[in-house]
């Protein structure tokens, strides 16, 4: 790709609210904290912000605490005059607003776009406990009775995991490394929800949820908000700190949308192919990765889809854990991911990869981190980004 819109955009600022299992704070308040921090980090004031984008946007009801505030509430609260906004559930998952916001900047609609993602699932699910309960939280009774083909998420991912085990000989010892590595990294992140050490024995003796997925294969609901400021690349020279360059995006959805009718172990493969088609960099150039771990098996799928290993080889790739740990060939989810860091839902990975590329990850800094990948989502919404350190 000779000219690409990605070259017009940098990530000039990042910010995060407090993160915790249950903060008991309003989604809007958390969001304002994150946005204020990101805008200050970018060396900007709210008057400079001309765009606002988020996932999933207002009016989306997936489960308690899943949707943050509507974009309208946020621009009202901050007194923003925006020239571009979007909040959409359908698109390249939680990276949709990053990609759309970048396109808006490249197209000249505005120079600075704030992207945020806010969750209060920790508090909301706790409040709903005993009334809703059960896997998935929300009732799927309608779909089940009426011939729909969806179950609560964990059931579908357990079935996909079993299929991977069956087709490729993947084992629980191997899958465990996603959770164990995340916990090891979380121990280096003071903001992570779960930081105490976790052993393979702990993992193997943990409560089974839907086998082969146990408690530690499921991410942990939390409260928190993450924001980033996308800026026109022309701003990079004026930014107070190091910016992060957008190298390539992958926005293409999976070939088919439903799990059971078309069991697909690599929902991200089209997005990944698109991303690699827009850059000269190759998987071997990636120094650190944030790979969606709503369920541990999804990280394995992303390793394969992105070409870090062959199809079916993710079990061997992660075996023992060293390769995906800090100090290894490809450190994955250095903040503890969503499994131990907390389910900040997508943008948490982006925040962490920006810290890594800015050399600001402290005790969990990956060595000479110049190129990072962020990949989020699962069927049917996926997206990925390739990021570069500045200069």
């Amino acid at each position: 790709v000779a000219q690409k819109f990605e070259d017009d955009v940098v990530i000039a600022g990042i910010g995060q609210s407090a993160v915790g299992r249950r903060l008991g704070r309003a989604p809007l308040a958390l969001t304002l904290d994150a946005i204020t921090a990101a805008v200050a980090d970018a060396g900007l004031s709210l008057d400079d912000i001309g765009g606002l984008a988020s996932y999933p946007g207002g009016g989306t009801s997936v489960g308690p605490g899943f949707a943050g505030p509507s974009l309208a509430d946020v621009y009202d609260a901050l007194g923003l005059d925006v020239d571009f906004m979007m909040g959409s559930f359908e698109g390249p998952a939680q990276l949709g607003p990053v990609i759309s916001g970048s396109l808006a900047i490249s197209a000249g609609l505005t120079r600075h776009v704030v992207v945020f993602r806010t969750v209060t699932e920790g508090s909301a699910r706790h409040a709903a406990r005993g009334r809703q309960g059960g896997a998935g939280g929300e009732s799927r009774e309608t779909g089940r009775r009426a011939g729909g083909v969806e179950g609560p998420a964990v059931l579908s991912y357990a079935l996909l995991a079993r299929r991977h085990f069956h087709e490729y000989g993947t084992s629980r010892d191997q899958l465990a490394q996603i959770a164990l590595t995340a916990r090891k990294h979380a121990g280096l992140n003071p903001h992570a929800v779960f930081r105490e050490p976790l052993t393979l024995d702990d993992y193997l003796s943990a409560r089974m949820i839907a086998d082969p997925l146990c408690l530690y294969d499921c991410d942990v609901h939390c409260d928190g908000s993450t924001a980033v400021v996308l800026s026109h690349a022309g701003y990079a020279a004026d930014a107070p700190g190091p910016v992060v360059r957008l190298e390539a995006v992958g926005a293409a959805p999976p070939p088919r949308s439903q799990h059971p009718q078309h069991a697909d172990l690599l929902p991200g493969r089209r997005a990944a192919r698109q991303m690699w088609g827009r850059t000269d960099l190759r998987p071997g150039d990636v120094d650190v990765a944030g790979l969606y771990d709503g369920f541990s098996i999804l990280t394995m799928f992303w390793l394969e889809a992105l070409g870090f290993c062959g199809v079916g080889e993710s079990g061997a790739f992660v075996a023992g854990g060293d390769r995906i740990s800090l100090g290894g060939q490809l450190p994955v989810n250095t903040n503890g991911g969503q499994l131990s860091g907390g389910r900040l839902h997508g943008l948490g990975f982006l925040h962490e990869m920006c810290l890594q590329l800015r050399g600001q990850a402290g005790p969990r800094q990956a060595e000479s981190a110049r190129v990072a990948v962020v990949a989020v989502g699962a069927l049917p919404y996926v997206g990925c980004l390739l990021l570069r350190a500045d200069q």
Binding site: R25, T142, A146, V149, A161, R162, R163, M208, I209
Partner: protein, 154 residues
């Protein structure tokens, strides 16, 4: 309504009940009525000839339609399975229970359903299964007209 200390922010929990009517449409209605008569009726795509259970209005793979109704047997194969140890919202089935993707003989896609009649440690991918139908007085235009699937000898 609670007010977390010192924040001036409020939250509220409330129970909401909603009555609803579900209209499955012609294609799915036909499929569900057949289940109520202990029959499985798939749909054959006029474009790629793939057989869908349940049938779709148009083929999700090639876009052709409408599908032609085609009878499918009540025997098939386990494509994947999981033993579920948590209660599932909206489901009366008590954990632990086995849940599987099943591809019926003659169908090209899978659907999820319950497995029964087998110790969970004996379930394997590739196992042949058949439907166990509900007794006459429990038959209805619903997936629940099939109680579960059980293994059959190879």
């Amino acid at each position: 309504v609670s007010e977390p200390e010192g924040r001036g922010e409020h939250s509220m929990s409330a129970r909401v009940r909603t009555k609803y009517t579900y209209e499955p449409g012609l294609t799915l209605s036909r499929f569900l009525r057949a289940l109520g008569e202990r029959r499985v009726e798939g749909g054959r795509c006029p474009g790629c000839a793939k057989v869908y259970v349940p049938p779709r209005v148009r083929c999700p793979a090639c876009g052709a339609g409408p599908m032609t109704p085609v009878p499918v047997g009540d025997r098939g194969t386990i494509v994947s399975y999981t033993v579920v140890h948590v209660p599932v919202a909206g489901s009366p089935t008590k954990p632990p229970f086995a849940w599987a993707w099943i591809r019926l003989d003659g169908a090209d896609v899978t659907f999820p359903h319950l497995l029964g009649g087998v110790p969970v440690e004996d379930i394997v991918v590739g196992q042949k299964v058949r439907a166990v139908w509900a007794p006459d007085d429990q038959l209805a235009p619903s997936w629940e007209s099939i109680l579960h699937f059980v293994p059959v000898p190879p």
